[in-house]
Amino acid sequence: MTWRLPVIVWQLLFFVGPLLFMIAMSFFLVKNYRMVEAFEMTSWIKMFGKGYFWDSYFFTLALAAWATIVATCVAFPAAFGLAFKVSDGTRRWIIFLLIIPFFTSYLVRTFSWYVILAESGVINNILGYIGLGPYTMLNTRFGTMVGYMTLTLPLVIILQTLSMANVDKNLIEAAQNLGAGRFQVICKVIIPSAKVGLIIGAVFCFILSFGDFVAPYYLGGSKPPTLSILIIDTTKSGQQWPRAAVVAVMMTTTLMIVAFTAIKLAYSKKT
């Protein structure tokens, strides 16, 4: 119990405390551009009554869901190759290379996509030579997705690789021995065995994408706004911190539900 004390203090101070404060703030009022302590449902009623809030909510949810699907599907073949087709040494090197992107700020990496994706950027220039384009890639959902992948893909690949590299090779051979072809081995043995890692990778991708504002703001053109952009807009215009808190509480709740459900799914046991 004594050993747990620092952890509990830490959690109270930096997680539960701010969270409670944020929840409290969502019931505050704003008068003459100043926040006033209160306990009123005003901000909640305002935000829930606005169509644009719900549009933004479901748009963000859909974007994050798409990012999760795309990242999981793109990462899987890469992680599969790393887990089963290369030597242990090569795998270690590639995982190291996958960590390198985290050395630089995500914002910087996002801006470098600007140069690549712009109307007169690298890709359109190359396509121009063979008579294609130019294509508009910035300020589109495609741009947002590129940003999300920049943020999440290396992490998802690493998590998937580690979970698949730990799959018992005997199980794979046992499946082959019992008549499973390559595709069946993947579906019936590797995916169920690596389930926890695959789901945790997806959850991370969802959480990061759902809360990210850089990709939708700079590469997606912030139209329509995601929830994180909505928070920025709300606070910038008229000091509406309580309304921003409502959005934040909704986001946190959503992520909690998603993470909890996913972990439950990941560790669900056969009865």
């Binding site: 046992a174 082959q176 021995n177 019992l178 169920p192 389930k195 046991k269 056969k270």
Partner: protein
């Protein structure tokens, strides 16, 4: 005359520079219980894996039912393997594990379930059908692994040290289960083990391997009583092995000069041996007799008789293992039934250091010509085998 069910023809398997299996030639008859035995790294598991298609021979040909199978994918053979680790799928329950092979063959769900349940009943574990594998005991899991392998009704079952994780009691029980199963099904079992007791308890024939080579193929009794090479003599049973040179051949008796002195052995079956030939002498530990120094000269004149002193004594149930040392320091091992020992040494109170006679009749000595065993005693052999090898 049809070919045996499984034929290995000049099969070689290399991993990089290492030769795991070297020029292997042997065949297995339909319905045979064949055990491949050897110490770890001898190539026995590689042999089994080649049969399952999990390894491809570097050279040579493996035929199953007259058909070359070298290139056939593991999933297209019906040669299920029972893994040492069992390799049960932890994310599936018991009956789903058993159904797996049928599912891969696209058999209808209803039929699948029925066949799986039939096997679970046969293995007496049907009550656990819907339990997760992790909740089962070692012996129950073993039965699931067997059911899973046999549910597709294969012509051959491969087993890779399947009992090595079980405790001694359970091993004996599972040996009974396996033997009975093999007889009832009438299919071929190829069983890899390092355990002599497992091999001898179940096998029709035993293949003994060392360093990628087959040392001997024979019935357990042949391998035990008539080891073809010194390696087999050391590996199998509880043998005393002496090295010597034939000094004289007289009345079909070989006189061999060994480290303990002159040993006399029957020449039967070794007409090609001549004076001056190096030979290894194998005397099974249960063929040695002990007598007290003052006992009447019971052993006849042709037998071998040496003075020795008792070094140690060890009881394992009804069997006593004694270690004696001859006058020139060679240790010999003797295994006796407690009651026989009591009879032979009725007037002696055995204690360490006790002086005794050790003797054995000439016909109980088995001769291995040394030329066959030369490579096993070479000083650069990586593992120098001990003089005694216990079962």
């Amino acid at each position: 005359m049809s070919e045996p069910q499984i034929v290995f023809e000049n099969v070689i398997k290399r991993f990089g520079d290492t030769v795991a299996v070297d020029k292997m030639n042997f065949s297995i008859e339909q319905g045979e219980f064949l055990t491949i035995m050897g110490s770890s790294g001898c190539g026995k598991t590689t042999t089994l894996r080649m049969l399952a298609g999990l390894e491809t021979p570097s050279e040579g040909e493996i035929r199953l039912a007259g058909k070359r199978i070298n290139e056939i994918k593991p999933s297209d053979r019906n040669t299920p393997l029972v893994w040492q680790s069992l390799a049960l799928f932890p994310f599936l329950n018991v009956v789903e594990n058993v159904e797996f092979g049928l599912k891969m063959r696209s058999i209808q769900s209803h039929d699948r379930k029925q066949r799986a349940m039939k096997w679970l009943e046969r293995m007496e574990i049907s009550e656990f059908a819907n339990r997760p594998v992790a909740q089962l005991s070692g012996g129950q899991r073993q039965r699931v692994a067997l059911a899973r392998a046999l549910v597709t009704e294969p012509p051959v079952l491969l087993l890779d040290e399947p009992l090595s994780a079980l405790d001694a009691n359970l091993v004996v029980r599972m040996q009974g289960v396996l033997s009975r199963l093999q007889k009832e099904l009438g299919i071929t079992f190829v069983y890899v083990t390092h355990s002599q007791s497992e091999a001898f308890a179940m096998a029709d024939r035993v293949v003994i391997m060392s360093q990628g080579l087959i040392e001997q193929i024979g019935t357990p009794k042949q391998v035990f009583r008539e080891p073809a090479t010194r390696f087999v003599a050391e590996f199998v049973g509880s043998n005393n092995i002496l090295t010597g040179i034939i000094s004289k051949i007289e009345n079909r008796k070989l006189h061999v000069d060994t480290e303990i002195g002159l040993v006399i052995a029957d020449q039967s079956g070794h007409d090609d041996l001549a004076t001056g030939n190096p030979v290894d002498i194998v005397i099974s530990a249960d063929r040695l007799n002990l007598y007290s120094l003052d006992s009447p000269d019971e052993a006849d004149s042709s037998s071998n008789k040496y003075r020795c002193k008792l070094v140690s004594e060890e009881f394992i149930g009804a069997i006593v293992t004694l270690l004696v040392e001859t006058e020139n320091g060679t240790e010999l091992k003797i295994q006796k039934q407690q009651k026989d020992l009591d009879k032979d040494l009725s007037n002696v109170n055995l204690e360490t250091g006790q002086q005794l006679w050790v003797s054995w009749p000439g016909e109980s000595v088995y001769i291995v010509p040394a030329k066959q065993s030369a490579k096993f005693v070479s000083p650069n052999s990586p593992t120098c085998p001990p003089t005694f090898s216990t079962g």
